[in-house]
Subunit: 276 residues, 4 copies
């Protein structure tokens, strides 16, 4: 918790309590309204793109969207106003997310497509963990992140080889198929097909038609089958080798017989019965 | 085993034995007839939907279905009648499954489509484990369930991120493709495509046609390739870290304080220090 | 090694050596000829089915096939003749494989299609492990088999639940889609689609067209994504928990200090230096 | 580091420093120029194949390609000239890669298609690890390789069985479908389909149309679902069982018999019993 600066008016204090804390009833209410707004704004962006909605309904969505955007803008300004250290907040992860979730609405005046980027508001939902005190979830997320970070060098080098493999296989397939199959009309497209295949996605928008092409495709698939094991193995071993929160042993040594590794809540030595 | 109530007629007693126990020959016969009926009723529901079956055959299926439904209804009433505690049974998992497996046939008078919901009768097949004393299978199932339960927080937070990722990637693909590709005609549809891709299902009913779209699709696939490792790693590590036959605890109870779960080679109680 | 019966002529002895052993030059030659024949017969069966091969070539293949079949038939009779215990051989795994690899050629007189079943001759290739003394490979295969056997109860119950899930999801999809999508024209077909989806194969020959159908399909895919982890986790934990061939410890106890767990080829106790 | 031969002119010395070392500014510059050239040449090969690029641009690419090829050729000759042991270099992995990355450009005079093989130049990018001293990445790569090597016998025998399974299932599907489905027009094609299915790629270019075919396809998919677990399990267990920083051995050498690899807390040599 950052220290409160001295010249801090009661209004800012009150606002800080409502916006940043979730202990008081007003704070809780504010947080819930916020979550509903975020969720609504995401749904609106999605619905707007569905073809065949009536112009009237579109008008309503348009208004609703701007109401929410204004709410978010005011909220962002108030956060900057009532936070103890505005610069720190603006540079924090949540500060940046808050900013980029209001920018797309204004960018739409310059780039018509920017509008759909409003979906990044979804990131604001991350706040839900803080609001509902889902610390356990955050802790679990950190464990996944640290396992991924630990396996990152292995994954990187593996990805590097996969990229080499798809480039080489893609070029070979281009040579084999491009005369008879318009799906393989360039090497980049053949590489795209190769990625589709080796990841076992397999759209089928492009697929080999010659016997030899199908033979090579089979090789690629079997390669993919074998190598899908590698990232899984890497992440699994990282997750398993993560230090567990030592459930079975505490660090107390028996004062009589010096035995270590007692049960977490043991009060007596399990060897000699001495008090720990 | 629940206690038998005092005012319990010999008929109810006999029925209870036949319907709920599988030790007597009559009980075994009843159970086997029941399983055959369940299996038949599922097959009938499936066959009925196949287009091009003759009206005569349909008529036979219709009659067979109602015979089975009546049998199930009578069975349900008898179960309620002869069970020691009807309320407990009606609220138990098997009681609810028994009820919802007869409801769809009657609901068909109100909602024509409800009929196909009869497939939930398949859940009654779970009874097979009880009847054939497949305790070992149930135990294995419990081990899987407990591993899944242990990995549930990690899986949940992972799914939350995956949802964010597919929403963002879906929106980007909508921006890139929706002008030239009618498959990406709305963000929800683009998100559907993104889920199809990241889970490596890859129907190909919707697939990118622009070069840039195919480039982003490649990114999504490689992401999917890397992240498929995460739930696997989570579940695998949960399964491996499941307590094997309790390595850390013996079955001795402290004679003084009745504490259980002592270390395997403990000689003194870890709570009160008494000799074990 | 089975005991040689007493009344065993030198001819049968010689044949036994050639056919069943691979130590002598004749035995080795016989085995290599056999492998080539098996391989050729498989290739012939495959090539025969390719449309557009000339009648002349087909004639050659036909003759070649019958030559091989006759060779296999004679070989089978000789094996029965020169083996120490014909009944034991005929009932053994290799004996059965040898028999069913010659049957299809003769069955073709009764069932025209049976011919293609000749592909089961591929199983004879298993002999390659015996011939080339690939014991290590067989040992590795046994390790995989025993891991699969150990995980079989868990896999079975998991598959049972998956079947229930695909039946229920399939029925729901049938209800949602069958009016507008001829791909979902019956529940069995909807279940087929559901299996295609949950295993992440995703042909795309059948795919949902309604928004609600695509929503449910997304749920199924995410389910499939999570559950693909389960069999992997089961098999991986079975493979990891397999007893390794104790590399680090032998079972000798030090005669002086009774220390156990010495290195495999230790000659002196690592604690007190006494001779083991 | 190989020893410098005695008759080594200062020019060769200087060139050696520039080309093979990355410590001096000139050496670093050379390496970076090299990487840019490699990357450029790959991009050029890919772009050239894109249909619809203007002849003028094609001309530029053609010239650029030959400039790079000449650069690589001169570089290769200089490497041979200034290396301490030309034969050793020419036979080393990097020597071979350097050679095969310039050959395709010249081969194009004889085989028009060879040109696209220039993509193998991508392998030269492996040099990036040496240049940027990414030793940690190389170490991680070695760990993956050694885990794959350790699991290679298991993977091989597993692949052998998978090949048998796809051959048999492919033949069965051919029998079931080839009269009504032109996708299954030969056994090799049916095997191709079977590989597409069992690896869960699922293009959908070929898919079963009969009910029985779809039933068998479901079996194959469920098989694939179960067996995808096996290579993953094998690789994961190999990665987990990789010797971590040697838990079982210390680095002390026996002063008497010079045996290494003693147990971590050994006090006496396990071979001769001498005090460590």
């Amino acid at each position: 918790m950052k220290k409160k600066p001295e010249n801090f008016s009661p209004l800012r204090e009150k606002l800080h309590e409502i916006i940043f804390e979730a202990e008081t009833p007003e704070g809780k209410l504010f947080d819930i309204v916020l979550l509903v707004m975020i969720f609504l704004s995401i749904v609106i962006v999605m619905i707007e793109t569905i073809p065949g909605i009536s112009p009237d309904f579109k008008q309503i969505l348009f208004v609703a969207e701007w109401v929410i955007t204004l709410f978010f803008t005011i909220e962002y300004i108030l956060r900057l106003y009532c936070v103890y250290s505005p610069v720190k907040y603006a540079k924090s992860l949540f500060g940046i997310i808050d900013l980029i979730s209001i920018l797309p609405s204004y960018l739409v005046f310059f780039f018509p497509g920017a509008h759909s980027l409003m979906i990044v508001r979804g990131l604001r939902l991350l706040r839900v963990f803080r609001i509902f005190k889902l610390d356990n979830f955050l802790h679990q997320g950190n464990m996944i992140m640290s396992a991924l970070k630990a396996s990152q060098p292995k994954i990187s080098i593996f990805m590097f080889f996969i990229l080499l493999v798809v480039c080489i296989f893609g070029s070979v397939m281009y040579l084999v198929e491009h005369n008879v199959n318009e799906g393989f009309d360039s090497i980049p497209r053949a590489i795209y097909w190769c990625i589709v295949t080796i990841t076992t996605v397999g759209y089928g928008d492009i697929s080999p038609v010659t016997s030899f092409g199908q033979f090579i495709a089979s090789l690629i698939m079997i390669t993919g089958y074998a190598v899908i094991a590698v990232p899984t193995g890497i992440v699994t071993s990282a997750l398993i080798q993560q230090p567990q929160e030592s459930l079975y042993a505490n660090t107390i040594t028996c004062p009589e017989c010096n035995l270590e590794g007692h049960d977490k809540n043991a009060k007596h030595c399990r060897e000699c019965g001495a008090k720990l």
